[in-house]
């Protein structure tokens, strides 16, 4: 079984040379730390920066330079700042190559829910609805089950949706899966996790074809 860092490391392998990448809050943010150093990638943050760098050194924080999680950041050579409308032109206009975000639930048809628990948590969707409605290449980073041990990979989402039929790939602490025609197609197993255990933790239809390799991290 992977931890959150493990999930981030596995997703980092999906980031290719020349990609513009939008990272959501949480596990996705960690992905930036594990991208191969021999490829060129630029990270976009929807509040208006392309070419995000690491966190600043203490004493060098600037209130005017933050990421979408409101954290202080730095920029790399070649970076640019822009307004919110232009930022979402990059996203809606499909200029961003890869979107990585978290989810509370994913359904076997690619629906995703990650912004609201009625009566409990109402924080808002931020940029998530724009991202999932437009991105060609969306990877969901999440734990396979919730804190109660219930599956987050469902036949149908129970929470209010963020987007319909948009998720293509999911990387969890147990597996790498692809949203296929009739369910979640199992691509890889986390180290030490059996197909049986993944089946057990997946409420939606799990498609298993042939031998499922273990992830290489």
């Amino acid at each position: 079984m992977l931890d959150k860092t493990g999930i981030a490391k596995r997703i980092a392998k999906e980031v290719k040379d020349g990609y513009y990448v939008n990272l959501g809050i949480g596990i996705p943010t960690l992905v930036a730390n594990y991208v191969r150093s021999d490829i060129e990638v630029e990270f976009q943050s929807e509040n208006g920066v392309l070419g995000m760098g690491p966190f600043p050194f203490e004493g060098e924080e600037d209130a005017d330079i933050i990421n979408a999680g409101k954290q202080t950041i730095t920029t790399l050579a070649g970076a640019s700042f822009f307004d919110s409308a232009l930022s979402f032109s990059m996203i809606r206009g499909q200029h961003v190559d890869l979107t990585i975000l978290g989810a509370m639930e994913v359904a076997e048809n690619g629906d995703i829910a990650n912004w609201k628990i009625p009566g409990k948590m109402v924080k808002g969707m931020g940029g998530a609805m724009d991202l999932v409605a437009s991105a060609e290449n969306i990877i969901v980073a999440m734990m396979h089950t919730n804190k109660k041990g219930e599956s987050k990979l469902l036949k149908q989402c129970s929470l209010p949706l963020t987007g319909v039929g948009c998720v293509k790939k999911i990387v969890t602490n147990m597996a790498v899966l692809e949203v296929a025609n009739m369910g979640f197609k199992l691509l890889e197993r986390a180290p030490g996790v059996t197909v049986e255990a993944i089946k057990e933790a997946t409420e939606g239809n799990l498609i298993v074809e042939g031998d499922i390799p273990e992830m290489n991290i």
């Binding site: 943050s45 929807e46 509040n47 208006g48 920066v49 690491p54 966190f55 600043p56 050194f57 203490e58 060098e60 924080e61 600037d62 209130a63 005017d64 330079i65 933050i66 990421n67 979408a68 999680g69 409101k70 954290q71 202080t72 950041i73 700042f81 822009f82 307004d83 919110s84 409308a85 930022s87 979402f88 996203i91 809606r92 629906d111 109402v122 924080k123 808002g124 969707m125 931020g126 940029g127 998530a128 609805m129 724009d130 409605a133 437009s134 209010p160 949706l161 963020t162 987007g163 319909v164 039929g165």
Partner: protein, 233 residues
């Protein structure tokens, strides 16, 4: 030069009254019109509808207006950092319309640019699209979202001049340029009001035509919400 300069924040907010709709720039606490917000608190205007990506934190930004119950309705994309907000929303005291962040930006921009509405794919098939017109373009579904109608837009820039020209800094730019000219009256507050001619016309982000009033803010706290740093090796 058409002079947009006003001496004080008091002059800049002349005409603001109860039940108006205001746009306020900023993402989190970055790039918020701190001086306009303080003045709105002082004026004590009530029943405001505020269009702003976030709702501040409990004791800063729009949280100050929420504390005094001056806001009737918030139109935002993310409101996760404010307990008082959550309390007022769950108790029904505050009306809240949550919309996708890109839609928020584009509804501002549409108002600025003279478009009555725009089609966006964001929110299709979700509760955000309920009751809205949808349409198929080339096999993909879109939702019709209307331009905002607002009385005042309060924006914050880094530098400006008496002509109303503005330059923003870093990610404090965010929604501020999109709100300029998107309301009946745009009030810009700047950290530095520079002499006319000091700004290079090539570098101006928002031309003065979109701004009706400009003033230099008396003080900026520029609070950091999530101070994150790395260790030196």
């Amino acid at each position: 030069m058409i002079n947009k300069k006003v001496a004080h924040v008091q002059d800049a907010l002349k005409g603001v009254s109860d039940n108006m709709t205001c746009m306020l720039g900023g993402f989190g606490l970055s790039g918020i019109p701190e001086n306009a917000i303080s003045e709105l608190v002082k004026l004590g205007v009530k029943g405001l509808t505020c269009i702003s990506n976030n709702a501040g934190v409990d004791d800063f930004g729009l949280g100050l207006l929420l504390q005094k119950k001056q806001i009737k309705k918030m139109v935002s994309s993310y409101v996760g950092e404010n307990d008082e907000f959550e309390r007022q929303m769950l108790s029904g005291e505050l009306d809240v319309e949550l919309i996708p962040q890109g839609t928020l930006a584009e509804r501002c921009r549409a108002a600025q640019a003279g478009f009555p509405a725009v089609y966006t794919p964001a929110g299709y098939g979700t509760e955000v699209a309920e009751g809205k017109e949808t349409r198929n373009f080339d096999g993909k579904m879109y939702v019709l979202e209307h331009a905002f109608k607002a009385d005042f837009a309060f924006v914050k820039a880094w530098k400006g001049d008496a002509a109303g020209n503005l330059i923003f800094k870093g990610t404090s730019r965010n929604f501020n340029p999109n709100m300029c000219g998107a309301a009946k009256i745009t009030v810009a507050e700047v950290e530095e009001l520079v002499p006319l001619g000091a700004l290079d016309p090539n570098q101006i982000h928002i031309p003065g035509i979109f701004v009706q009033r400009i003033f230099e803010g008396a003080h900026y706290e520029k609070r950091i919400e999530q101070r994150t740093v790395r260790q030196r090796d």
